[in-house]
């Protein structure tokens, strides 16, 4: 340790020698404080302080994401082989699947961290403060919510956009209004929709397979939600056809096409364990729940937000299920929540404390709005099968207003006491 300590002390001393190099102090300091908890002591106020700090808090969130990451790597490999028709059983070619998965996923993580931390360092030097810990989590979240076949340059651009516009313009970690990782995803979703949705992005290397003709027959590469949204569109076409009196045969044909698409959606168990195509880390509800259980155990994530988010999603899914009318609505509500990024969003996105409501009561409303809107957008608007992302972003935007209402109630209570006294 002494040896390491000397390296940092020498580095600090070297930087302090000239005014020109002094501004790079935050760089060395950031690495230093990562390796050594600094020797700062309390000067004012309480003389002792809790052992917890932001670094440990953030690191624990990263630990919680590891199940999602590992499963995501395996899953990317599995569907790569599946598209080639070589997947076999889930455990066949296990190491090759991991290998090819890592080949595709690790570069996304590397780009996300390298670019994001690069931007953070620039801001740290410019503003003369230490690099703050927020991006440690965002840098891992971004790869987990990207399609595996996304071009790396897009990851880089989205990360820059998210860190600069989503966070640093507001003042850095702790000051942002909307979730940084979702900002990156939303940016790509609207700027490069063809790389973020559709059939050609969810499986590693699927574009090449389609040009080479190596893609196995009958495999479209769409997500379950994509299939279900397609089925819903067919039913909508059928309704239009019916209105225009195109004849029973046409209507029935369209509906049959829709039903056929809907059957491609995976089963409840497959979607729970995560054996479906989708963004890298989002598919496995089980892995997300493992992480969620860990975060609740160490008290970092809020159960209030998680529970209300789930209930919000369930209530809308249940409502539309009761309405019925097309294969998408008729998916069992629990199964509906297992598809796509809902569970991942519940554990890692909606719970981001900076962008969530800060008051206890507010958290219930905030989570419910996020879950309900997410599922509503997903199911009601077939153009956005990944409505959860938008639902959470809208909830982020609502959070300050929710807090304001809750705090105003507290203030009113105090004012009332004054009048009755």
């Amino acid at each position: 340790m002494k040896f390491l300590r000397n390296i940092f002390d020498n580095a600090h001393a070297a930087l302090n020698k000239s005014e020109k190099t002094k501004k790079f102090f935050p760089l060395v300091d950031s690495v230093d404080t990562l390796v050594f908890t600094p020797n700062h002591t309390t000067q004012k106020g309480a003389h002792i302080r809790d052992a917890i700090d932001l670094k440990r808090t953030m690191m624990f969130v990263i630990l919680a994401m590891i199940p999602c990451l590992l499963f995501g790597i395996y899953n990317a490999g599995h569907w790569h082989y599946h598209a080639l028709g070589e997947a076999g059983g889930y455990m066949d070619n296990f190491m090759s699947k991991l290998g090819i998965g890592a080949w595709y996923v690790i570069p996304i993580i590397a780009v996300s961290y390298a670019v994001g931390l690069g931007v953070e360092f620039i801001f740290a030097i410019k503003n003369g403060h230490a690099v703050q810990e927020g991006f440690l989590v965002s840098g891992m979240l971004i790869p987990l919510i990207m399609p595996v076949d996304v071009p790396l340059w897009m990851v880089a651009v989205a990360t820059i956009f998210a860190v600069v516009i989503g966070k640093e313009v507001f003042g850095g970690t702790g000051m942002n209004i909307i979730n940084v990782a979702l900002t990156a995803r939303a940016f790509l979703f609207f700027a490069h929709p063809t790389s973020m949705t559709g059939d050609n992005t969810w499986v590693a290397g699927i574009k090449d397979m389609k040009t080479d003709g190596t893609l196995v027959d009958g495999f479209s590469g769409a997500t379950s939600l994509g299939d279900l949204a397609g089925a819903k569109s067919k039913y909508a076409e059928a309704a239009v056809a019916l209105a225009k009196d195109k004849g029973e045969v046409v209507v029935a044909g369209l509906k049959a096409e829709g039903d056929a698409m809907a059957t491609k959606a995976v089963s409840l168990m497959d979607s729970f364990w995560g054996f479906e195509v989708g963004s890298v880390g989002e598919t496995s509800a089980f892995a997300a729940l493992l992480g969620g259980a860990f975060l609740l155990w160490v008290g970092i994530a809020s159960w209030k937000v998680m529970v209300s988010f789930f209930l919000g999603g369930l209530s809308i899914a249940g409502l539309l299920y009761a309405m019925g009318g097309n294969p998408f609505y008729e998916v069992d509500p629990i199964q509906q929540l297992m598809y796509g990024g809902f569970m991942f969003g519940m554990v890692f996105m909606i719970t981001d404390p900076v962008t969530a409501a800060q008051t206890g009561t507010g958290k219930f409303f905030y989570g419910f709005i996020g879950g309900a809107l997410g599922i509503l957008i997903r199911m009601a608007n077939p153009a956005y099968p990944e409505g959860v992302m938008l639902g959470i972003l809208i909830a982020n935007v609502c959070a300050p207003t929710i807090d304001h209402m809750v705090i105003r109630a507290n203030v009113k209570r105090r004012m009332k006491r004054l009048k009755t006294a």
Binding site: G45, I48, D53, R414, L418
Partner: protein
């Protein structure tokens, strides 16, 4: 109406180093000090000069903006120095003690026959007034106010705090006289709070006051918390508070006419030796109590407790309101992140957070040094303060209003009900290491300047 109150939110900080319940007489100090800084926002106006003789109980300085308030000498002796700091601000007045005390006696009050004005003038003349503090603001009470109630907390729930049941044992007569005198000052009640489990006879036999029993973790002993649950303060209202031990000093002065500000000082903390209760006077040197009773040479000496106390050196003097000295190791060393640092397993490290395993052993006592354990950051984690803040107040929002000097929001969010000490636990457990006590104090100062 007597109430029984259970505080649910809070945190008992179990540290190693409680004082044994043994009383030892501390050596008489050569010098005693009265420090204006102990009386927040008080500007002293000297009434003695260097070299002048003073008796015990004779005024040394007055409050410049309220010349009725006297600050008196704890011993008889010679004013040996007036220590000044920047801008000639008076830091402390040193009195070289005589071998034995001569007293400036104050007319012995027939307590029963006094009216409010009489009681006030006795307390002011005898130099007892500084013991009375007011909420809001947590400063010395203004004699011209009439408080809606007076609160006396019968226990201290701070870490390693002295046990009032022990220090006030057998002081029933003085304590009762103090209560009788204080009850003249308010049209409301004198409220005495005790821990629910078997308080000392001094408290049990006290009469002429509303008694409340309080249970629950720290900060249940903070008088601000008790006021909030018994008779919350609204804008424009004033409550006076007196420490239970000071009530006994007030009482004994009233009974004998002599000002003998005895303090039983608990010497506590992991690196303190001979941890006992030391009998001394207000203004004594730290050296006389902790002098030979410290292990190691890298320690923090605190006048008061670890949450709200003041950092002192051996040559400094005991704080006016303090009856505790805590000695803990300094934490001025680097900690490698995987072993002792931020990513270690952390068995045995104190944390209220569940991210360290120590929360599972609730009765364990911890040794904690003064390391900040991290760096100051913007608020990230939410609903953390609320767990240790037993007020119907949003603590983070109030701190933010104080940081931004937002008087309007501070008033709305409840600044009149809190004192910095109520935020000590928030500060302790804060992931972002925000100095909330200081922010609240600054907020209160602004309120005092603009609104009071």
């Amino acid at each position: 109406m007597s109430k029984s109150i259970k505080i649910r939110k809070g945190l008992d900080v179990n540290l190693i180093g409680e004082a044994d319940k043994v009383i030892v007489d501390a050596q008489r100090s050569q010098f005693y000090a009265i420090k204006p800084a102990d009386f927040h926002n008080t500007v002293p106006k000297m009434v003695v000069k260097v070299g002048e003789k003073v008796k015990a109980g004779a005024p040394v300085f007055k409050d410049k903006y309220n010349m009725d308030i006297n600050f008196v000498s704890p011993v008889s002796g010679t004013v040996s120095d007036i220590v000044r700091g920047e801008k000639r601000r008076i830091l402390s007045v040193l009195i070289e003690a005589d071998a034995s005390d001569e007293y400036q006696t104050n007319e012995i009050a027939n307590i029963g026959g006094l009216d409010a004005a009489g009681a006030k003038s006795f307390l002011l003349n005898a130099g007892l007034w500084p013991f009375i503090k007011m909420r809001p603001l947590d400063v010395i009470a203004k004699p011209e106010d009439t408080p809606k109630a007076i609160f006396i907390s019968g226990f201290d729930s701070h870490p390693l705090a002295p046990d009032y049941d022990f220090t006030l044992h057998g002081k029933g007569k003085e304590f009762q006289a103090g209560i009788d005198l204080l009850s003249k000052l308010t049209e409301g009640a004198v409220n005495l709070t005790t821990r629910s489990s078997n308080p000392d006879d001094t408290f049990k036999s006290a009469t002429g006051c509303q008694k409340h029993s309080i249970s629950g973790p720290h900060p249940s002993g903070n008088v601000g918390v008790q006021i909030h649950h018994i008779s919350p303060i609204n804008k424009g209202e004033v409550v006076w508070v007196v420490n239970a031990q000071d009530v006994a000093i007030i009482g004994s002065t009233a009974l004998t006419g002599k000002y003998v500000p005895t303090r039983l000082v608990a010497l506590t903390g992991e690196t303190a030796k001979n941890r006992k209760y030391y009998r001394t006077l207000i203004g004594s040197t730290i050296k006389n109590i902790a002098g030979n009773n410290i292990e190691g040479d890298n320690n923090r000496i605190i006048s008061g407790n670890v949450l709200t106390g003041e950092k002192v050196e051996m040559d400094d003097y005991l704080g006016y309101y303090h009856s505790q000295i805590t000695v803990i190791p300094e934490g001025n060393e680097y900690k490698f992140f995987l072993t002792k640092g931020w990513l270690g397993l952390g068995f045995g490290r104190f944390s209220a957070s569940h991210a360290y395993p120590s929360w599972m052993s609730k009765s364990k006592k911890f040794n904690v040094d003064t390391n900040l354990n991290g760096e100051e950051r913007a608020y990230v984690v939410t609903e953390q303060y609320e767990k240790v803040f037993p007020f119907d107040i949003f603590p983070v929002q109030l701190v933010k209003a104080a940081i931004t000097n937002d008087i309007d929001n501070m008033e709305k969010l409840g600044i009149y009900e809190v004192a910095p000490e109520d935020f000590a636990l928030c500060e302790l457990i804060c992931t972002s290491k925000v100095q909330s006590q200081e922010h609240i104090r600054n907020g209160l100062d602004l309120i005092q300047k603009e609104c009071m």
